[in-house]
C-alpha cells in the first residue's frame, strides 16, 4: 500500500511556480519586440510551456494558467481575481514581465485535488 504523502508535497509553493513561469516567459518571448502577427503564437507558447513544466512537478494539482500580452502604449491595465477554494491547499501566483515594447502578465492558479 502506498503511503500518502502530505505536508510539503501537497501545498502550492509560490516561489517554485514563479521561477517556472519566469523561465517559460523568457524562453518564449525573450528578446522580441511586440508584433501583432506573432502575438497569438507567443501567448500560446508561454502558456503551453508553463503548463507542461508545472505538470512535470508531479503534484496532485489542477492548474489554470492565463497570460496577457499587451503592447506598451501608455495605457493602463488592471487584473483582479476572486477565488472560491480551500485556502490551506490552493494558491495562485502572478508574474509580471516586461521589455521595451510589451508587457506580459501570467497568472497561475493551483487547485488541489
Amino acid at each position: 500500500m502506498d503511503e500518502f504523502q502530505t505536508g510539503e508535497e501537497t501545498a502550492f509553493v509560490v516561489d517554485e511556480v514563479s521561477t517556472i513561469i519566469k523561465e517559460s516567459v523568457e524562453g518564449a518571448i525573450g528578446g522580441n519586440a511586440y508584433q501583432h502577427s506573432r502575438v497569438n503564437q507567443w501567448t500560446t507558447n508561454v502558456v503551453e510551456q508553463s503548463l507542461s513544466q508545472l505538470s512535470k512537478l508531479g503534484k496532485p494539482f489542477k492548474y489554470i494558467v492565463t497570460c496577457v500580452i499587451m503592447q506598451k502604449n501608455g495605457a493602463g491595465l488592471q487584473t483582479a481575481s476572486s477565488c472560491f477554494w480551500d485556502n490551506t491547499t490552493d494558491g495562485s501566483c502572478t508574474v509580471r514581465w516586461g521589455n521595451k515594447s510589451m508587457y506580459c502578465i501570467v497568472s497561475v492558479f493551483g487547485l488541489a485535488i
Partner: protein, 149 residues
Amino acid sequence: MFPTTVEKVTLGSLHFRKRKCCYVKMEGTDTGGNTYLIRPNYHHKFKAAVVKECIHDILREQLSGVQYDPDEVGVLSRSLADCIKDKLKDVGFDRYKLVVQVVIGEQRGEGVKMAARCFWDADTDSYAQDIFMNDSLFCVAAAFGSYFY
C-alpha cells in the same frame, strides 16, 4: 437471525411443513453529507452558457458608462470579481471550486492578447468568459470551475 414462522400444512396423507421466512429490512443509510461522487450529475455540471450569461449581465450592469480611471480601476476590478464569484455561488455549483479573473484595460489603440490553458479533468471542469468594451475601457472576465472530488 431471521424470524421465521412455521405452518403445518396437510395435504391428504402428506404432511409437510411450510417454512415462511421473513427478512428484516435494514435501515437505509443517511444520504445527507458526503456521497463520494467522483463525477457530477448532468444537472450539477458547470454549464458554460449559463455562467457566460451571468458574467455578461454583471459586466453590462456595472460598466455601462464607466470611464477608465487609474485610481478607481483597482477597486472596480476587485469588486467585479467578487460580484461574479458570489453570483456563481448562488447559481449553485456545489462541488465546484471557482476561480474568477477580471482584466480591465484602458482603450488607447494598443494591441492586447489574452490566452489561457488548463491542466484539469475535461469531463468535469469547464470555463466561461465574456468581454465588455466601451470607448474608454475594455474588460475581460473569465470564470473557471473545477470539480472537487
